[in-house]
Symmetry: C2
Subunit: 457 residues, 2 copies
């Protein structure tokens, strides 16, 4: 037999997994739509000129490249081949790559369709992305991202909405979450106040490790990076704010950052967002976290991260405000804010915490046992009526042994089985078997249609 | 500004297109599920060893290949580079390709998961496929296929179900269709009867052109291919059956094929399928068409094609029975039957015939006009209640000019606008504007929630 596995780091999804994945996607879509986000889709392939240089060297390396069609070597020089000049050969033999994330395609979309779309533009996108990363447990080379972004406005209402919307998504999915929020301007303010505005990145990278390596660890790292003792002393108070309540943190930040205009702006933005959130919602756990930095360098304002409270997996979502999404394509000044959920992580959390509704274990509602073509033919009108009622019905296609047919229903976790031989058919009835309890009853066919009434739209 | 177009033959889908595409997909999915078909998904990339040789030379040429990561030239010999030995270099620098259709991945899935799945296995799959074909109007390099297949049984109930299921899909979409059905065994019988069983393919290729080139054209083609005068005379009656009614055609075929066991089997299969179909359904136009051949050589029994009656686009779907789907992967004897719909063609037909429901033109239901942060803050509880009712609400994020906000609602075809300044808010009311009629009324906020009652699940 030939090798029938999928490429490394990719996988198939079976029927139950698909039911569960769709449950996650449908929940997310429904909520996104209620907040006015509109779905778009972009192609799997993008020109490499669109993708390259947008994700750093690491990202460029992890792009899947598509080999040009036809004589792909035609533009390659003999000398390049002889020298095995990978960089130049690659450029000439592959002009397209697979989507690496949904943000760059979205930026490309906004620029390309700028005359059709209305600003402010709220869009969501749920599509797979591909990365030639080393596969690991829970990390795949093809995975689905769910992104919502709004561009063309700097209104803080949108940050508030992202939190509120995410709270609704995770509440509906049954996942208890906490929102960590911070603002890049606060981080800039901190760098300014300790006198090293040009070393903002180093500072935030170190600070971001606070919950992993502790206050001493962060200070050691800064010291090894050449920050002076006095700079580190100025930095200390910012490391000691975590796990205070939000008001205290913001008040402290106001004091510490009073000399930094940009820092104060960040504090004010956070204050505004918190004040816009529903006041009486105790479930919405929003935590101001001055050490939160988030990796991507394009964030310029609010940054947020969502953590599942009852799972060890940590962050299941992140986002923030960026002031120059489309600048990479030459269109400046479009401010936006966005959030991204990882479907696989959400799936894992839900599985770990047993949060999928039991109904998602069942692939069909009713199996009709096959006693022979004549019997089935007589049952087809009933089958048609049940399907007309929106019910999922499988007619077993062959007159196999009863045991085989019942174990088929069992394996597919079909909760009800209909059986009708000549006798029952003569009476206009069927035997209905409840596969969970094992009970079975003879019921008239009309009664059956009442037991499975219409749920069609 | 940089080039921001998508690769040749690919495209973006905007909000309205997505609403319409989802309407098509959701309709298809809902019907597929009622017939017990279970959704699966396979990865976009497959090993080239899975894909190559399954679609003929043409198909191999049209596969998108993924360049290996890292030093992709490492296994290529100097001599191969020097000679620009494309065939061998390709093999060594690209081990994966993009999915070309859904059938081969499905066959691969069945073999790989044969110990987990239950036979008979009814699966559906709605995913994009990629072909490096010359782009044309209506032909893309990335397009979505919707396939339903059932394997592990040769019951003719499944053929009947495919027709019935497709009838329901297209009835729900509002597309009037005709089903052309034939059987490969009938074609084999015809070849047998005229004494050229070994030339079945040539015969069916010529016959398939009947509706394009007419009886004389088909006979000329056969003649030029070296069929003898007497063979062509024997063939003639088979060319004169179209546009008779089904019973007459089947009776004639029975007579003409009486000496061919395989031919008679094909006739009997068609008879059985027609007898299983709902008797009183005049809308289901099923036409026995002995000249229907369908391209793919793997069909062995029933073949079918679905045509839109009111559009010039012709076939929008095709399928049939194959007796050896998984044989290509070394697992023999699994009979199956399947059907495939092309989403783009269905979309084009629906657009051409204006069949999309008007509701699909609207991206959100309500726009809340922004008079300023204080006013919006006061309106947020109402906005939250409307969204709790399942309503799609966009709060305009900035206090822009009224005209700008209203034209935004207009451009997005949002049917209702809510406006509330200080006066209205003091009264606990809002102004509700109907964007279609232009009418506007001041209504109390509680009344508004009655006008937009809950439609949450």
């Amino acid at each position: 037999m030939s090798n029938t596995s999928t490429p490394k780091g990719t996988r198939d999804f079976g029927a139950i997994e698909m039911l569960r994945r769709n449950y996650i996607f449908d929940t997310i879509k429904e909520v996104f739509r209620k907040y006015g986000y509109l779905q778009i889709e972009t192609p799997a392939q993008e020109l490499l000129s669109t993708l390259l240089g947008k994700y750093g060297d690491e990202g460029d390396r992890l792009l899947f490249r598509i080999l040009n069609s036809g004589d792909f070597l035609s533009k390659v020089e003999d000398e390049e081949l002889e020298k095995r000049d990978l960089a130049n050969i690659t450029k000439k033999i592959a002009e397209k790559g697979l989507r690496y994330d949904l943000t760059v395609p979205f930026a490309r979309y906004v620029v390309q369709h700028r005359n059709e779309i209305q600003l402010p533009f709220k869009r969501f996108q749920i599509q797979p992305v591909w990365r030639a990363d080393r596969p690991q447990k829970g990390r795949y080379r093809e995975f689905v991202q769910c992104d919502a972004d709004a561009v063309g406005t700097d209104s803080l209402l949108l940050e508030m909405e992202l939190v509120e919307m995410s709270e609704e998504v995770f509440r509906k999915l049954g996942i208890r979450v906490a929102f960590l929020v911070n603002n890049r301007k606060i981080l800039a303010g901190i760098a300014e106040v300790i006198g090293t505005p040009e070393r903002l990145t180093e500072l935030t990278v170190a600070m971001d490790k606070l919950d992993k390596i502790g206050e001493k660890g962060v200070k050691d790292e800064l010291s090894s990076r050449g920050f002076s003792e006095s700079e580190i002393v100025l930095f200390e108070p910012f490391l000691r704010m975590e796990s205070q309540n939000n008001e205290t943190i913001l008040a402290t930040l106001s004091q510490l950052l009073s000399s930094s205009a940009v820092g104060m702006e960040g504090v004010e933005e956070l204050r505004t967002i918190l004040a816009l959130l529903p006041p009486d919602n105790e479930e919405m756990k929003v935590i101001v976290s001055p050490s939160l930095a988030r990796g991507l360098s394009y964030y310029t304002g609010t940054i947020m991260e969502i953590k599942a409270l009852d799972a060890t997996i940590g962050s299941i979502s992140g986002g923030g405000r960026y002031d120059n999404l489309t600048g990479i394509f030459g269109v400046k000044g479009l401010s936006g804010v966005g959030i991204s959920y990882g479907a696989d992580r959400i799936y894992d959390v839900m599985e770990q915490l047993n949060l999928f509704p039991p109904a998602l274990n069942s692939t069909a509602e009713i199996l009709v046992v096959n006693f022979g073509m004549e019997e089935i033919k007589a049952l087809l009108p009933l089958v048609r009526s049940l399907r007309k009622n929106g019910r999922k019905v499988i007619v077993y296609p062959d007159a196999a042994k009863m045991k085989k047919q019942l174990s088929y229903a069992d394996a597919l976790r079909i909760p009800y089985v209909i059986m009708a031989g000549t006798e029952e058919l003569k009476m206009g009835s069927v035997t209905l078997k409840d596969m969970n309890t094992g009970d079975q009853d003879e019921v008239p066919q009309e009664r059956l249609l009442e037991l499975f009434p219409s749920k069609e739209r």
